[in-house]
């Protein structure tokens, strides 16, 4: 039962990374692919109908963690206090940048929000990557399962490496999304940019894998991690092939598979811990320490899964109406 709860939270967060991942990625690459006011507007419009729904996956993940593993929720959120609040501020800036840009017809107004949009998207990806890196590396919990994460502790080389890797992966994800949604110059620039990002992902993937083996000695060589690792490699190559053959839909699918495989290997590395110990061998917080009663678990799982199935159903019906490409007027 606790394992099912772990899987559900992993699933919700993976959906968040897949979905909000592309719109964060679009935000991060917008300054590079869109030069004029019209182009930047098209770039923001490409994710306009979707981003808010995408971000709810993060809220739902937070809610599910709260309900299913309250102790982990309390410990990690208060332990990451300042970095967490900074993430909230960035999410707020990004949200209002997208929502308020179109409400006033002035280039200065647009430029300001475009800059906020790009900066907050980039920083958010980096910070989410750093957070994941720290989670994989482990956190120094005290006897009552709490810790105090200072910036100096959190900004370690391994976590920063994961952050940079996350940026490369999601920027690439966003570039493919732009090729899918926009017709015109930004799409061509996104394609060129994708080439560079792909190479950096190819370089960073083994580096991150090797570094993870170093910080989490002994846990990596499980059949699960081997299997998803292979899947990651295959889908990374596949997305490159699909882009060069001009099949953005396929490339997007491959990119999703790549991200899912990476997250699945991260989840496999963590399991059964929600917060592994740092340094290794100390006290960690596992799914068995933090889980509520069987009744609460069953109820929460049923209610959340039923709701999410409905969400997936109506989102895909609604979003089918937004498959036409955005064209940019000269």
């Amino acid at each position: 039962m606790s394992t099912a709860a772990f899987a559900l939270i992993a699933f919700i967060l993976a959906m968040y990374v897949l979905l909000d991942g592309y719109d964060l990625g679009v935000g991060a690459i917008t300054p590079l692919i869109a030069r004029s006011d019209r182009e930047r507007e098209a770039s923001m419009r490409s994710i306009g109908p979707f981003w808010n729904g995408n971000e709810v996956w993060l809220i739902a993940g937070g809610g599910a963690l709260f309900a299913l593993f309250p102790l982990a929720y309390a410990s990690s959120f208060s332990g990451f206090y300042l970095p967490f609040i900074v993430v909230l501020w960035l999410l707020m800036f990004r949200g209002i940048a997208m929502e308020l840009r179109s409400h006033f017809p002035s280039e200065i107004w647009h430029q300001f929000w475009d800059a906020c949009f790009a900066a907050s998207s980039t920083l958010l990806i980096l910070l989410f990557g750093v957070a994941l890196g720290n989670l994989l590396r482990g956190l120094p919990l005290n006897a009552s399962e709490y810790f105090m994460g200072t910036f100096a502790f959190l900004l370690n080389p391994y976590a920063l490496l994961v952050g940079v890797f996350a940026l490369a992966v999601l920027a690439q994800h966003g570039a493919i999304f732009v090729m899918l949604r926009i017709d015109g110059t930004p799409s061509k620039r996104a394609r060129t940019l994708y080439g560079g990002l792909w190479i950096s992902a190819v370089v960073l993937l083994p580096a991150v894998t090797a570094a993870t083996t170093l910080v989490r000695a002994g846990v990596l060589r499980t059949p699960w991690v081997d299997a998803v690792g292979t899947l990651a490699l295959v889908s990374l190559v596949w997305s490159r092939v699909a882009v060069s053959r001009d099949r953005p839909v396929q490339a997007f699918g491959a990119s999703c598979a790549f991200i899912l495989a990476l997250l699945a290997s991260a989840a496999g590395t963590l399991y059964p811990y929600l917060i592994p110990a740092y340094p290794p061998g100390h006290r960690g917080l596992s799914i068995f320490d933090a889980s509520p009663s069987p009744y609460a678990l069953t109820t929460a799982l049923t209610v959340i899964i039923a709701g999410l199935l409905a969400v997936i159903a109506y989102s895909s019906i609604v979003w089918r109406h937004f498959t036409t490409k955005i064209r940019i007027a000269e």
Binding site: G62, G63, L71, A74, S76, R101, H103, V303, S315
Partner: protein, 447 residues
């Protein structure tokens, strides 16, 4: 200041600022759906109205969303001990809010804002209805969570942890339902006054005659109906629940220091907490006994029934409650009077009443906020009534300096958001419905 005080200050500030926007979205959502629905059936004037209110709604929704995100996460960041103890219970309605309500609102708002001309008009109208449903459901789950903290049901204690034993007891708790209906009616009063007040502004400034009349008429009907419902039965049943389950909150609300038979109702008066009296009160004899128990002779428990350590802050609770009731009386009167004039077909030709409608617009907002202050401050010193003290609910690793830092950040950010909100909303109102382009088409580049 210790961390506890700053934590409370931060939560009060962020939640009160945030709540201004859900009041509007909950109250305006039915108007947006109504006009969008009419537009889908070929009413061109309603289409203009729908585009206008969708724009106002979208600005409110945007600021409501961004200021709402910190709230759910603040439980974990600032109130970790509370979250660890009660997450298995209150995490459920909060997770349901995300999964059942917030998704619905967000996904369909995307379709409502960007779908005009892209999706069939029936789907567009359906999206508006889904957004409406989402905003009301969202309100329900949040109020159900709060109601559980006011009057815990369906749980048992396992050591210091609280375990859920019945989700249906939590969601179907009568305490939650009357609190929710009261909150809903309060927001609808605000929505009605916003629509009527902006309509009145157009009529007084001699423009947008057709839509202005429509706004005044539709808004007045909603404001009048829900002004009455907010008092009876929802407000009345809510006080009955407070009387039964939280007697010291009722005593603080009414400034009743000593348990009294035939307790009088204080219309005004200033509590003197040191000498346990009201200064310069105006009383209605026996009336509090009647309101609380439906019997003029009934004994009403005063603050003296409890040790002083268990008293809520009397001044804040008392004044917040009286502000709510006082403003409530004013907006009830204005709405009912306007509705009467509307029925006699004289409202549009009575500038004095149009002025009143316009100037009353802020009152429902203040009353909504004051109502929440009453219920939240009146629950103190408990964070979960009878189970957990607020003072023990904070995060063990977070120190006051950190919270002061983030409070300064929130203050700066929310100041900016407030300025942006006022600027964009007032600008949209000044341009007016007829000259406005829709939110989606404003950015729509013609292909």
């Amino acid at each position: 200041m210790d961390a506890f005080t700053v934590d409370r200050l931060q939560f009060a500030f962020t939640v009160m600022f945030h709540y201004l926007f859900p009041i509007t979205t909950i109250g305006l959502a039915p108007f947006v759906a109504f006009y969008t629905f009419k537009a889908a059936r070929g009413d061109a004037e309603a289409a203009t109205a729908a585009a206008f209110w969708t724009r106002i709604f979208a600005i409110n929704f945007a600021i409501g969303v961004v200021t709402g995100i910190p709230l759910e996460f603040q439980f974990g960041t600032n109130w970790a001990a509370f979250s660890a103890a009660s997450g298995a219970v209150i995490g459920q309605p909060l997770a349901m809010e995300g999964v059942y309500a917030f998704f619905l609102e967000s996904v369909f708002l995307g379709a409502l804002l960007y779908g005009k001309g892209k999706v069939p008009t029936s789907v567009h109208a359906g999206a508006a209805v889904a957004v409406w449903l989402g905003s009301w459901l969202s309100g329900f789950f949040i109020v159900a969570t709060n109601a559980w903290m006011q009057h815990p049901v369906g749980y048992r204690m396992v050591g210091a942890r609280i375990e859920l034993t019945s989700l249906s007891a939590l969601l179907l708790s009568p305490f939650a339902w009357f609190q929710y209906l009261h909150v809903l009616c309060g927001a609808l009063v605000a929505g009605g006054f916003v629509v009527a007040g902006i309509g009145a502004y157009y009529l007084l400034s001699q423009r947008e005659f057709a839509l202005g009349r429509r706004f005044v008429a539709d808004g007045t009907v909603v404001a009048a109906l829900f002004s009455l419902l907010v008092v009876y039965p929802t407000g009345d049943r809510n006080s009955a629940n407070v009387t039964e389950y939280q007697p010291e909150k009722l005593a603080a609300m009414e400034g009743l220091f000593k348990s009294t038979r035939d307790a009088p109702l204080a219309i005004i008066g200033m509590p003197d907490v040191q000498h346990h009296t009201l200064i310069d009160p105006i009383f209605v004899p026996d009336f509090l006994s009647f309101l609380a128990y439906g019997n003029f002779r009934a004994n009403v428990e005063g603050l003296d029934a409890d040790a002083k350590a268990l008293w809520p802050p009397v001044n804040v609770t008392y004044y917040a409650y009286h502000v709510m009731v006082g403003l409530g009386t004013i907006f009830c009167g204005v709405a009912v009077l306007a509705a009467f004039f509307l029925w006699r077909k004289r409202l549009f030709a009575t500038p004095a009443l149009l002025w009143l409608l316009m100037l009353t617009m802020p009152f429902p907002y203040i009353a909504n906020e004051a109502g929440w202050v009453t219920t939240e401050v009146g629950r103190q010193p408990w964070i979960i009534y009878g189970i957990m003290r607020s003072a023990k609910a904070g995060s063990p690793t977070v120190v006051s300096g950190e919270v002061v830092f983030t409070l300064i950040g929130f203050a700066g950010m929310y100041f900016m958001l407030g300025v942006l909100f006022l600027y964009l909303t007032l600008r949209a109102i000044a341009i007016g419905p007829s000259l406005q382009s829709g939110v989606g088409d404003a950015a729509e580049a013609p292909a």
